[in-house]
C-alpha cells in the first residue's frame, strides 16, 4: 500500500489540510443549523406558553420582562398574555434550588385574579420514577384553579394543603416553593408592564 512517508512536511501538510477541510465544513453546517436551533429553542418556550395560558393574540415572548430577586439566582421571567391589549393572564418562570438534586424550574400560568391555570416543568434533575412525577397530570391537577391566596401551597406534612408525591416530599416541597415564588412575584408586579420596568 502506497503510504506516504512520515516526513515532517508530509505530516504537517496532511494535518493542516484535514483541519482546514474540517473547519470549513463545520463552519458551513453551523451556518445552516443556526436558524433552526434558535427556532427550536423559541418553540419550547412557545409550547410551554400555549400550555399554561388561555388563548392570547399578543406575542408574550416579545413582551416578556425579567426581574432579579434575592430568593433565587436565576432571574425571573414574566410573560404577559393579552387579547387586544387586555391582560388575560401571566406566565411566570420561577425556580427553586431545593430539589432533591438541585434546580427545579417551572412555568406557572395565572389568571388575572391570581388563580393557577396550569404548570409546566421546564428543567429538573429529580430521581427518575419518583421526583419526575411532578410532570404527571395527577400531581398537577391538585394545583389547577386554586388561588394561592386561599390555598396553602405547603405540603400537608408542613400543615399545608398539597399532597406530596410518595417518596418525593423534598421534590414536592421545592416545586411548591417555586409556585409560591411565582405567585408572590405576580402579586408584587400586578400592575406593572414591560415599559415601566
Amino acid at each position: 500500500m502506497g503510504k506516504k512517508a512520515s516526513t515532517f512536511t508530509n505530516m504537517t501538510l496532511t494535518l493542516f489540510v484535514i483541519t482546514v477541510v474540517a473547519g470549513i465544513s463545520l463552519g458551513y453546517i453551523n451556518q445552516v443549523t443556526e436558524g433552526p436551533i434558535a427556532q427550536a429553542k423559541l418553540q419550547r418556550t412557545t409550547n410551554a406558553l400555549n400550555d399554561v395560558l388561555p388563548e392570547f393574540n399578543n406575542s408574550p415572548i416579545d413582551d416578556m420582562w425579567k426581574l432579579k430577586t434575592e430568593v433565587v439566582k436565576d432571574s425571573i421571567e414574566i410573560y404577559p398574555g393579552m387579547i387586544d391589549g387586555e391582560r388575560i393572564g401571566s406566565a411566570i418562570v420561577a425556580s427553586s434550588e431545593k430539589g432533591y438534586n438541585g434546580l427545579i424550574k417551572i412555568m406557572v400560568g395565572f389568571k388575572p385574579d391570581g388563580s393557577i391555570i396550569n404548570i409546566r416543568v421546564l428543567e429538573q434533575k429529580e430521581t427518575p420514577g419518583l421526583g419526575t412525577k411532578i410532570k404527571n397530570e395527577k400531581f398537577i391537577s391538585q394545583y389547577r384553579d386554586k388561588n394561592p391566596a386561599t390555598f396553602n401551597l405547603k405540603v400537608k406534612k408542613d400543615k399545608g394543603e398539597v399532597d406530596a408525591i410518595t417518596g418525593a416530599t423534598i421534590t414536592t416541597r421545592a416545586y411548591s416553593e417555586a409556585v409560591q415564588l411565582a405567585y408572590d412575584i405576580l402579586m408584587e408586579n400586578k400592575t406593572q408592564e414591560k415599559t415601566n420596568e
Binding site: 474540517a22 473547519g23 463545520l26 453551523n30 439566582k73 432533591y100 438534586n101 423534598i170
Partner: protein, 191 residues
C-alpha cells in the same frame, strides 16, 4: 464552603463513574489489580486537572469571543490528545520515577471519556470561574479514584470466589459495579 460542596457533590453524590457513567472503559478495563488502578487514578488526576484548566481558558478567551463555540468538541479533544503526549514527554525527562508509575496509562487516557466529559461539564458550572473549574476537575478525579480503587479491591477478592459458569468474567463485574452504584445512591440528596 462552596468549594467543599462541589467536592462532596463530585466525589460522592454525582460520582463520575457510578452515577454519571463517565470513564467506564478504564473502570472495567484496568481494575483487575489494585496497583494498576492506583496508577490509573494518578494519571487521570494529572491529566484531568491540566486538561480542564487549559480547555476552560481556551473556551472562555478564544472560542467564545470569536463566536466559535461549535468547535468545542473538536478543540477539546485535540487539546487533550496533545496534552497527553506532552505530559508523557515531560514526565519522561523530569521525573522518570513518576513516568515509570504512570507511563503505560497515559496513552489510554486520550479515549477516557471522563477527561473530555469533565472538561465539558466544567463549562456548565454555576457562576463558573477558573478556580471553580479546577476544583471541580480535581474532585471528579478523586471520585474516579475512589470508585476504581474500591472496585478493584473487590475484584481481587472475587477472583478466589466460586462462581456459576455463566457469571464469570464480565457479568459478575457488572453486578459488583451495580451494587457499588447502589451504595453511592445513598449519598443522593446530601448536598
Amino acid at each position: 464552603m462552596e468549594y467543599i460542596l462541589i467536592i462532596i457533590a463530585a466525589v460522592f453524590v454525582n460520582n463520575i463513574v457510578l452515577s454519571q457513567f463517565l470513564g467506564i472503559c478504564p473502570f472495567l478495563g484496568v481494575s483487575n489489580k489494585l496497583s494498576t488502578s492506583v496508577g490509573m487514578s494518578g494519571a487521570v488526576l494529572f491529566v484531568m486537572t491540566i486538561a480542564t484548566l487549559v480547555t476552560y481558558l481556551l473556551y472562555q478567551f478564544v472560542l467564545t469571543p470569536m463566536g466559535m463555540e461549535y468547535l468545542r468538541t473538536i478543540t477539546f479533544i485535540l487539546v487533550i490528545a496533545s496534552l497527553v503526549q506532552m505530559v508523557e514527554i515531560i514526565l519522561k525527562k523530569v521525573s522518570p520515577a513518576l513516568y515509570q508509575a504512570l507511563g503505560v496509562f497515559l496513552p489510554l487516557i486520550t479515549t477516557n471519556c471522563a477527561v473530555l466529559g469533565v472538561a465539558i461539564l466544567a463549562l456548565g458550572l454555576e457562576d463558573a470561574s477558573l478556580l471553580k473549574a479546577v476544583v471541580f476537575a480535581i474532585a471528579n478525579a478523586i471520585g474516579f479514584a475512589l470508585a476504581i480503587v474500591v472496585f478493584s479491591s473487590i475484584r481481587e477478592k472475587l477472583e478466589l470466589a466460586d462462581l456459576p459458569e455463566g457469571m464469570k468474567g464480565v457479568p459478575i463485574n457488572l453486578l459488583v459495579a451495580g451494587l457499588l452504584s447502589l451504595a453511592f445512591l445513598g449519598f443522593a440528596g446530601l448536598v
